[in-house]
Assembly symmetry: C2
Homo-oligomer: 190 residues x 2
């Protein structure tokens, strides 16, 4: 997706060798016009796939997911990272090891919001080693719902999460894939 590549090249900031910070438009400050454009692109990719629900994970996936949900005309559910008093005990849950946060955390979705009659599209902002996506896929499998595929804003193509998931047969659509960095900045996969 050209627009997202332009945002990453122009507004992303390189930190070290393999991190590009996108907190000015994606995961801290959020550009709503970009979110809407990504929602429309995700609709284009998954139109006809008979999606009934979108699943994402708090917090950075929510803005993209709600825009895609609006375009596709389906509800969106976000998996929660912490147990709260108001969350039903009747949940699907799994443990994710976060590279970003350097720790394990539990994610959970109330069982009432994922059913075996659903056809789920998973959305997240980043795909690197695939830990978060594998956790969300586990929640879908626990529910017995069908998984139509995943839509990711930015995939780090130099990590192996996307490769492994595609080898398992999952449909993974990344709106921008970063293959590395050179003297001109970010190198995208065509």
């Amino acid at each position: 997706m050209k627009l997202l590549q332009e945002y990453i090249s122009k507004k992303g900031r390189l930190v070290g060798k393999d991190i590009v910070k996108v907190d000015s438009f994606l995961n801290h400050q959020v550009d709503p016009m970009l979110m809407q454009a990504m929602g429309k692109e995700i609709k284009r990719l998954y139109e006809g796939a008979e999606i009934t629900k979108i699943l994402t994970i708090e917090a950075s996936g929510i803005a993209i997911a709600v825009m895609a949900a609006l375009e596709l005309g389906v509800p969106m559910v976000f998996a929660k990272k912490n147990a709260t008093k108001n969350l039903s005990p009747d949940v699907y849950s799994t443990t994710i090891t976060s590279f970003t946060h350097g720790r394990d955390y539990d994610v959970r979705v109330a069982k009432e919001f994922l059913s075996k009659d659903d056809k789920i599209l998973i959305i997240d902002d980043f795909l690197a080693n695939g830990a978060a996506l594998n956790g969300l896929i586990s929640l879908v499998h626990q529910s017995g719902a069908q998984l139509a595929g995943c839509a990711i804003a930015i995939e780090k193509g130099f990590q192996d999460g996307g490769k492994k998931l595609r080898a398992q047969g999952y449909r993974i659509e990344s709106l921008a894939i970063i293959d590395g960095f050179d003297e001109n900045g970010v190198v995208f996969r065509d």
Copy 2:
């Protein structure tokens, strides 16, 4: 806002005496059409207020805030609840005591995303005792930005957060105010 009141009455579930669960459309599963309608209503309320940026807090505020940001044509920033390796150390921060989670937590916004030239609209999903809103207001004051006001999806009118904030002179616009519960269910303020 009639549409939100209808959602609360029809899809909310009473738990105990003073909790209405709205996790089927607002804070776990999310109805994107309702989010868009709330975004449009917030635009109507704050049109002409020269908002330059929307501030919310992860996670439940994000879906509403990004829709309002799209309508108003401004960026949205969400305050983060946990320190992460990728967040700048150069942050405004404050401590919020959460009734829902039964604990204190730190919220923070990178300084680069709130400036004294901004005119901020704060958005959140719930207003009860005002703890979260007071925390977000503190972040705005720390930055030197102007605060145009706050827009809340659901205010619990029987708790005193909204009353205290209005008494301090803040503009607080709640799209639905729950004054209590009777034999027919939720009682809204007109």
